[in-house]
Symmetry: D2
Subunit: 339 residues, 4 copies
């Protein structure tokens, strides 16, 4: 931590601050320039973070030198984390798996239609919502456990592992029982109690980036999960909020190489939620793979215009199949392959 | 709802869409211009919202005409909602109550010092965190029930009603037992399960705006609570995320008159969290009152540099007292008074 | 400047960097922690700014310690700059002048009607556009010199000094001839050639904040003007771009106390352009004054629904007069008075 | 245009508005629902745009149905615009040309070194700044005409067409004399006078997106140029401003397929300015090509740590060459080739 004193700080203010720092067992390094006095604070990251430097009178600014996250950082672990899901899928390796399915599970029959179509084209994993976080209290809220059962029946029949969101710590055991991968949705990225809970189970977690979360906050949320014992965290970029209104959110693809640089965790991309419209999905799915994404999450529905949620961004199985054909050469071009 | 067809839509696409709309029992109003065909959809808001118009092939855009919220709107209820808290406080009336206290309750003694100072200067309500949503898993997470007990002891001694955050549905009963007002924090504004739960209790709720929430989303979250039966919702503007980095967030004061226009619910402002630094708080607290705020939430700590969280934005009791003196004439100038 | 080396930097990389710094005549201060090596760079701000620290291999980050602006900073000049305009107006003193008028001058008669109404209620300064920066090439672009003449006729008749925008260095002499205050519009805040030109004249300049400019960039643009010789710069907050769509932009009132802290220049607020709608203007104008604004710019039109630009945000003279009555007690409450 | 009346509008307000619309020669289509009266306005886009609907009392909202731009739209011209530059380069066709060079031309020798390296690896076009828009008045401002001469000497020697920015209408003739392509920088995207001027010349224009410009505003700026007679406009996405601070701006790659859908103009991407750091450029350049970009602009410098501007984002020639090798298979994968 680098602490910059105000030009008019008093000697007493400086002494008080140095005293507090040293009381914590940290070392200081004082440097008096012409215009500013600067204190370098050296020692354990966790101890340094406990001092509210800018609350001290006389302090102008404080610049952290180390990142606030540790376990998820590349500095802590250099090689890529690879997460195995079911018998056939691995996220974080050379293959780029596709995770597809409806936004919400709306009924057994429609789910089966979707899943069978996906399975037939070789998509290895199924996604689907059982509990839906809907902006309006009057919208369809999901089928709950019934949806989980329908999905696990699909898994039994097809072998596709299933990904579904857990929204509430009280549902965790239930979702855990059925799902292969737990998803933390964008609105829960900083639901720290939920993060703590999924940090204590042994199944992989897909953590979606909050729609206005910085990369640092995103990694701190992953750190929550890992620090509680679960190191199988898959990060998912799903669009951030900007002033642009032609797309629902703005897909931040530079998050992909940036995250790959800062963390050893795998990074997947969800263009469906970011864009909120199907016409731009193929181009952006290709771009995501070219940017280095370790997987793609895509919404697919057999009849988007009958979908109870997010129909506007759901590909038809036919569009999904065409997209696969476009994705494969792009993956090969960057030394990967679509799974 | 106004649906705009693509210039090259087919007759069949139009017929399918009209069929779907009419099957829902809604009426349509067709208008063919030179360049675009437009469909007006007339009927119940809830029925209209169930149709994913933009998923239909042939549809270019859909413009909602009615706001998606109902119970919280001024159109639904014209007069201001006034919410009584304890014997002496009312939010939404002529008086502008101050809600002050530490970010987190750190111990009995320090809480008592803060509360006594606030009580002595006539501040009518105490805030304090028992469960703290911290960005880092390594930071102080709050004292939990102990903090609630200390706060209720303060209430017993001083008569100040207490406001505290509930972060997890599993804590609701516990927090309910002690608190006079339940706070939903900014990171939980779209924790719909939690909103549903606090919608089923009979104590007032302060709902903080999500840090990248639109006004519409904010009101939809309030609608969640009210639609589940609890109409005692107080909205709190606490800063939105922008590109500016000199302040922690950007306090969006125009949200105050805008919300007062769109909803009958009271609106309070929390400049402490928005700004993240104390030096700008007095000016912005005055501005909030001038903009029409129905209350102010402020962080106060006896020794900010020892605070375990958010010390940088905590006023000392002395600064709070000076602020009160600045606030009173501003309140009078807009026909209000500080409580 | 504090330069942080990568954990794996080589000795040669460090040596090269130190060599470059010392070649510039700057001093360094090396501090080796357990995890990072840090270099403090001490010396002239301008020399330090010339080194592209993060281009050096081995460098992880560089944190500037001093602000990049100088002449406009409070550190450079402590007391408020007061700018006299005409015989009666001063910006930056105790009084808070109102600058009002139409978005664009549309004709002699309508300008006279507006100006006479403003003059009758004691508004001391007139604003009006002669050259209009319109988003669409098909919209009304302003009357040019004719507008300037109409405005100067108003000044002759009423004594009101006039403010008008200069959009193009080629118009500067013409605008200079007629105007009392030159305005730099939000889209030109970083038109550095135009800033250089107005920095070489002797009339006051109102510099509008770019709609996505940081406070630092805003002050750097002011520094451009002042460093070329013109220290009569008035800063104008006019709303920033965010994700919110209920208002045209988001009025960033915290910019007012923040700027007053960082710079000695006066700060005025334009709520009309920020909000883009009249209904929220009175509340936000009051809030601006309470926040410490040194002046207000407001759009007024006698018949907003006939305005050729920005009618939706133009107050009628009657609404302006009512606003004045609301503003005066707020100004008094913060120790100011409306001029 | 769809105009929505307030629920409590008067008959007189409705009559006045209808009168105004009909006086313009436009047709109306009235629809009275239970809760709202809606007016469809039919006729010429330009006439409709002249009415400030939301300034009329009684009007709640106005929703435009047609895009405000015309000449640049796909609706106006379906096939892609292809722009030929020099003898060998075409932008908007199957090939994806690379435009590379230093941020600023700093001297003859260093420019020659850079250009020769680029030429040797087959890069077809050279970029370089003669007039530099620098945030600080104390930074290097460019060599002006000298830089233009050095660049045109390079063209003579290598045949590479040159791209350079024009910042001021007064420099247009000078820049026109030397450059093959005129660049309008991000800070000038809404410098409408400059747009008008480059709309009157016959050389291609690269228009950079403003760093907080919406797609609609970006296309309106292109419409300015085209409507003045110059249809050789190349759009350039270069990053937008968000809350993220790990990269300088956020590269908005979804703008590429979105623009390709809305307009017939070619779209190139500048990852260097968007990211502000070299380490993420290769991944994002590949992603841009996969997203459908018609060209790439990249900053290259032989000795980035000596660059007078933007060194931190300049690739070395060696890094550029490695990038070319990565780009080629990606381009082939999407049916294109790197030029």
């Amino acid at each position: 931590m680098i602490v910059v004193m105000k030009p008019d700080h008093t000697q007493e203010e400086l002494r008080d601050l140095l005293g507090r720092i040293e009381k914590m067992g940290l070392r200081t390094h004082l440097s008096k320039g012409e215009r500013r006095t600067i204190i370098g604070v050296i020692g354990e990251r966790e101890l340094i973070q406990e001092i509210p430097f800018t609350s001290f009178p006389g302090v102008e600014a404080a610049h952290p030198i180390l990142q606030p996250y540790k376990l998820v950082s590349r500095e802590f672990k250099e090689e890529n984390t690879r997460i195995r899901i079911g018998r056939q899928v691995e996220v974080g390796g050379e293959a780029v798996p596709i995770i597809a399915g409806p936004c919400a599970v709306e009924g057994r029959q429609v789910l089966d239609e979707i899943a069978d179509a996906l399975h037939a084209m070789g998509i290895p994993m199924l996604r689907g919502g059982a509990f839906k976080p809907r902006t309006s209290p009057y919208s369809f809220q999901g089928l709950g456990e019934l949806a989980l059962k329908y999905m696990s029946d699909v898994r039994e029949r097809t072998g596709m592992p299933i990904v579904t969101e857990v929204m509430d710590p009280r549902d965790l055991l239930l979702v855990y029982k059925y799902a292969d991968v737990l998803q933390i949705g964008t609105r829960n990225m900083q639901n720290f109690r939920l993060l703590t809970e999924v940090g204590q189970v042994d199944k992989p977690v897909i953590l979606k980036r909050g729609m206005s979360a910085t990369i640092k906050e995103f990694l701190m949320s992953a750190e929550y999960i890992v620090s509680h014992g679960n190191d199988k965290v898959i990060l998912c970029e799903r669009g951030i909020r900007t002033f642009e209104s032609e797309t629902r959110n703005t897909l931040d693809l530079s998050a992909v190489p940036l995250l790959k640089k800062l963390t050893h965790l795998p990074v997947v991309v969800d263009p469906s939620h970011a864009l909120g419209r199907t016409d731009l999905i193929p181009a952006m799915a290709c771009a995501a793979v070219a940017a280095g994404a370790d997987g793609l999450m895509l919404e697919v529905h057999v009849r988007p215009q009958e979908a109870l949620s997010d129909g506007a961004q759901s590909l038809t199985p036919q569009a999904m199949e065409e997209l696969l054909e476009r994705l494969e050469p792009v993956a090969r071009a960057v030394g990967r392959r679509i799974l």
